[in-house]
């Protein structure tokens, strides 16, 4: 996968565990954004024409275009609904998250 994934992060317990100076490893993700979501996008790949508009306009870059099929990285999707709103074929539905 070309996207960064969540890595384990150990909370610093000693001053020596902190990075030296205000810098840190690029692309280090310690947590997901999945809990932000109240609705989730569900892609209907039969209706999808692979125009990739959703891929371009996703603010979080969570739309994946593997093997000509659209899928969503639910770890980082915030459920804003831009993809469903912009889809010209209405192939993406926003479904309420069940707890």
């Amino acid at each position: 996968m070309e996207r960064p994934v969540k890595k384990d992060f150990k909370r610093p317990t000693h001053i020596n565990d902190y990075p030296v100076g205000p810098q840190y490893e690029a692309g280090h993700l310690a947590e997901t954004n999945a809990s932000w979501r109240s609705v989730r996008p569900v892609v209907d790949n039969d209706k999808c024409i692979n125009c990739l508009i959703c891929y371009m306009v996703c603010p979080d870059g969570t739309i994946m275009k593997t093997d000509g099929k659209i899928s969503v990285d639910y770890d980082y999707c915030k459920g804003c609904g831009v993809c469903a709103h912009e889809c010209p074929k209405d192939a993406i539905a926003m479904v309420k998250e069940e707890l």
Binding site: E2, R3, P4, K6, F9, Q23, Y24, E25, A26, G27, H28, L29, A30, E31, T32, N33, W36, L52, I53, Y55, M56, V57, C58, P59, D60, G61, M64, K65, Y76, K78, G79, C80, G81, V82, A84, H85, E86, M94
Partner: protein
Amino acid sequence: MTNDTVLKIPRITPKNMTEKEFFYGHKACAGCGGSVAVRLALKVLGERTYTALPAGCMAAVGFIFPQMAFNTNALITTFPGVASMASGIAAGAKALGQKDFKTVCFAGDGGTADIGLQALSGMIDRDDDVLYICYDNEAYMNTGIQKSGLTPYGTLTTTTPAGKNIHGTKTNKKNLFEIIAAHDIKYAATASIGYPQDYINKVNKAKHIKGATFIHVYASCPTGWGTPTNTSIEIAREAVDCGLIFLAEYQNGDYKLNKNPKEFKSVKEYLTKQGRFKHMTDADIEQVIAYRDMKWERMRRNWNS
């Protein structure tokens, strides 16, 4: 640049765009327009990019230790000094003998048109090899929606409240694109995230130009504008369609309008959709339309020969 060199630049489309994400897992509000602008630009510019960000939303949401959303070499600069910092990065990388890299700044409208204007002017004057991208959400959104130099007439912000006597912001949007073009910059453009392919093309063009380049991209902000999160892209597109935002380029001393519609869509419809313009009366909207027509008349007369 002649047409021949334009043709040599490989066109980037979502189909052949890199799968890698360089702005991922950030903490921006759902439906953030600025993050679309940053994400697409970084995907076009690629891995070998130095990114400088002043205080602003994208710096605030991208670097929350230990959550580092930028996958490129990125750093936060002082608020007024993003352009100077980027100049330094470009000079430093050149001194180290590095090749095939690009330096880019992502500043908000306040960080560009108000606070960072002096450093930006110096950067363009020295013609440093930096691409400066201003994502314009028309107020200081990071600090809680205060008026900036690019806030248009009638906008409700926390420092320009709307009441019985004063209906929001009294001033018009600064002509930032013309100010930048007046430096005789190598390449400057305006774009909107509502037209992502156009924006990608402009970033791609700027990437292949050696020297100072500038892109002013219109990016919606659902939190500050009072719009639903799912209409972020639509609202940025409508702003262009109703003529309040224009798509243009400046190169080799020539202005070029990319989109010159014969008829504009309804301004009223665009304004009343947003919470920040809800209070506007018909007279206010008339004034917005009159200003738009004046500006377009001037642009068509001077730019499209």
